[in-house]
């Protein structure tokens, strides 16, 4: 069959070795073999080397008891839990740093970008100095400065700085009151959810009505009023207060009770936010500058206020330029969170390394760590690409 096929091609007087289709086909096959061969070699190499050195590649250790303590966890953890569970604690700690970091870095970055575009000399210069300094110092160095110089330089726990209200700041971390749900919490949560749904619906419906009729309906203000008003109303209706407050109390060594943010987490988060924020600032600034000057002027001419110009005219157009590089900044922040190992914050990579040491399984644990980073990064990328497609100009 294939012989006949080749006959057909060569019959058109093109020699076999100069036929583009055949050359391309051969190149494809060769590169496919090379790639598959390389991957197979790499995997085989890992397995052989591991076997030779008596390294176990199995995942059977996952259910064994971990035995090591972890400094902080979002889910209840103690040493009797399994290695797999400890790993999950690490994953959640990474997500806790990455998600909060992404939101905060975006806010900081946008503010810094606007400041750098400002015509106010002082604001402009402060933003420039921040961006240029922070972008040019390695993140690891900054983390060390934040952790060892700034946060460990806070006063001892006995001499905590007391902030307004029962919030205490010391070397041990930031202690603040924690809300504790009581019996009526469930009923009150109902009000909160209804309030949220109603607020979203009102925002959409009123917004659409305003667009169609041109009559001012205050969609945002109404939505906010409902979102806060309904839970407030619920608070009094359910009778007993749905939340009580657990205040931090100074014990013999530390504060007990309340909510605690460790300085390790604070140092990591501050470092990541400040560092990534500087990069995001430049991304946002580039996006805003990419919007044609005429658009500002036209919007001004229509009588829009400064805030409205930004919100309604500039940002929607800047987004198209901002989103793609912003995605890579988000991915950077997530991956950079693995530097937590330097400041003792038990993130995914940190817990992974502890498991490797205590269970003696380097290859399986590293493949798990790689898998989780790959998964979170790809998920972020997919979501942001989806959003990117939505804000792109639709050509008509």
């Amino acid at each position: 069959m294939s012989q006949e096929h080749i006959q057909v091609i060569t019959s058109s007087n093109i020699p076999l070795w100069r036929d583009e289709r055949i050359i391309k086909g051969i190149v494809q096959v060769i590169s496919a073999i090379a790639v598959i061969g390389f991957v197979a070699f790499a995997i085989g190499n890992v397995i052989n080397a591991a076997h030779e050195r008596g390294l176990s590649l199995g995942y059977d250790f996952i259910n064994q008891s971990a035995g090591f303590p972890l400094a902080e966890s979002v889910i209840p953890y103690d040493e009797s839990k399994s290695f797999g569970y400890a790993f999950l604690v690490g994953v959640l700690n990474t997500l806790r740093a990455a998600l909060v970091g992404i939101v905060a870095a975006t806010l900081l970055g946008t503010l810094a970008a606007l400041a750098r575009l400002s015509t106010n000399w002082l604001v402009n210069k402060i933003a420039s100095v921040y961006i240029e300094t922070v972008r040019n110092i390695p993140l690891l160095v900054q983390l060390f400065i934040w952790y060892f110089a700034v946060f460990q330089g806070l006063p001892d726990v006995q001499e905590s700085i007391r902030w307004p209200g029962p919030i205490f700041l010391s070397k041990r971390g930031i202690y603040m009151p924690a809300p504790v749900p009581t019996g009526t919490f469930g009923a009150w949560m109902g009000f909160v959810i209804v309030g949220l749904v109603l607020a979203i619906v009102l925002r959409i419906v009123l917004g659409r009505y305003q667009l169609q009729t041109g009559r001012t309906t205050y969609p945002v203000a109404t939505a906010f009023a409902v979102f806060f008003g309904l839970p407030l109303l619920g608070w009094f209706i359910v009778g007993q207060s749905p939340l009580t407050v657990d205040l931090p109390v100074m014990g013999k060594f530390n504060f007990t009770g309340g909510l605690r943010l460790t300085i390790e987490y604070a140092a990591l988060l501050t470092g990541l936010v400040i560092y990534t924020g500087a990069f995001i600032a430049e991304v946002v600034r580039a996006g805003i500058l990419a919007v044609n000057r005429g658009q500002f002027e036209a919007a001004r001419a229509l009588g829009l206020s400064n805030m409205q110009v930004l919100r309604l005219v500039v940002f929607p157009q800047a987004m198209r330029v901002i989103i793609p590089p912003l995605i890579s900044q988000y991915l950077n922040l997530t991956k950079n969170s693995s530097l937590a190992v330097a400041v003792g914050y038990p993130d995914l990579f940190y817990v992974g390394r502890t498991i490797i040491n205590q269970a003696g399984r380097a290859v399986p644990v590293f493949s798990m760590v790689m898998g989780v980073y790959l998964f979170t990064s790809l998920t972020t990328s997919v979501l942001m690409n989806f959003y990117n497609r939505r804000v792109q100009l639709v050509e008509r």
Partner: protein, 366 residues
């Protein structure tokens, strides 16, 4: 874009499936329970034809997994030379093979790095105040001879007034991750029903830095390590080491699995150090001792007979070279931790010779 992502994802899935599938295959088929079977692992290394002794001789030096950050055990002197109790054990092995205590390459390792370094044959000896445990013996390598009997202790600030572990309920404790110390800390506090918050670092310096800065109420590690660290503090007298022993920490040099000859060589060198002290042979008198009347001493120094040197591939007078280079066990101990030690003073306690009521004991050389 989404196609690319899909392709990447599927590639990763295929890779991980392959890895796990092969991994299960590769896991020694003979012994079914399987988590550890050293004999299986030992075979391939031997098949490669070259023994570790041959590799070491070809290389011209011994690769020693060590540390540079612990006073007394492994640190740098003012000239940047590696010194310390653990370091001298490596130098002893180098002296046995090359008659040169400098024929060592020191690889500094963190607590978390040392296990994998031994598993992957990166070092010939791991001499880095490493505790011998059964799981490490099964997974990491072979542990030779216990050279330092230690126990886990707890250091606190004097003004805290704590004298026992029970006083530390609710305290924050600094500890190095990837150590037995970390596990013992959890065991000890849990069994006593005490609450604690750990602060862990991979890097030992960070642990004590954080403790000294006041990040933690207490720091825990081997007592010898705590003594060493305390000696380096700005105000050593502000800190006390509690009179509690939380665990057994037999500090032992280890070698990679799979080479019995190498395992025996390192063990024999350690036995020589101990026996030399027992027989009173020191780096000062080793040459005079060649003429000693004691057959034990003459045998050890290679003047007469053979206690297995040639079978191990070592020269007849290797023990004399070792003692000349680093001294006997007691000399090494005193050099760093004796009354006039370079690092600090630590009573020998249970690390005395068995004759003097301690635990240091070696099989006879014959």
């Amino acid at each position: 874009m989404s196609r690319k992502i899909f392709a990447l994802l599927s590639l990763f899935v295929v890779l991980s499936i392959l890895l796990t599938a092969c991994a299960q295959q590769a896991e020694c088929p003979e012994c079914t329970p399987c988590p550890e079977c050293p004999e299986e692992a030992a075979a391939p290394a031997a098949e490669e034809g070259q023994s570790r002794l041959e590799i070491v001789k070809e290389r011209g030096k011994v690769v020693c997994g060590s540390r540079t950050d612990l006073l007394g055990f492994g640190y740098l002197d003012e000239n940047g030379r590696n010194v310390g109790f653990d370091i001298d054990l490596c130098r002893a092995v180098a002296a046995a093979i090359f008659n040169d205590p400098e024929a060592v390459e020191f690889v500094p390792l963190t607590a978390a790095e040392r296990g994998p370094a031994l598993q992957t044959n990166e070092v010939d000896i791991l001499s880095r105040n490493c505790t011998w445990t059964s799981s490490r013996d099964a997974q990491w390598g072979n542990f030779t001879v216990i050279m330092f009997y230690d126990g886990q202790g707890m250091m606190v600030r004097k003004d805290s007034g704590a004298t026992k572990l029970e006083d530390l309920d609710g305290a924050t404790v600094c500890v190095t991750t990837g150590t037995t110390t970390e596990l013992n800390l959890a065991d000890n506090f849990r069994s006593r029903g005490l609450d604690f918050t750990p602060v862990t670092f991979e890097d030992t310096a960070s642990v004590y830095n954080a403790y000294e800065e006041g990040r933690c109420d207490a720091a825990t590690s081997d007592k010898s390590q705590l003594a060493a660290v305390r000696a380096g503090f700005a105000n050593p007298d502000d800190h006390v080491i509690l009179d509690v022993t939380m665990s057994k920490e037999p500090l032992t040099p280890a070698v990679p699995q799979g080479d019995d000859q190498w395992f025996d060589i390192v063990k024999t060198v350690m036995y020589v150090l101990i026996n030399a002290e027992e027989l009173g042979v020191t780096s000062q008198n080793v040459d005079e001792m060649m003429n000693s009347d004691s057959p034990e001493i003459r045998r050890m120094l290679g003047v007469e007979g053979d206690f297995g040197q040639s079978d191990l591939g070592l020269s007849k007078d290797f023990a004399a070279n070792v003692i000349r280079a680093v001294g006997n066990y007691g000399e090494i101990y005193d050099r760093y931790m004796g009354p006039n030690g370079d690092a600090f003073t630590l009573d020998r306690g249970i690390n005395k010779l068995w004759k003097d009521g301690g635990l240091i004991y070696a099989p006879p050389l014959r």
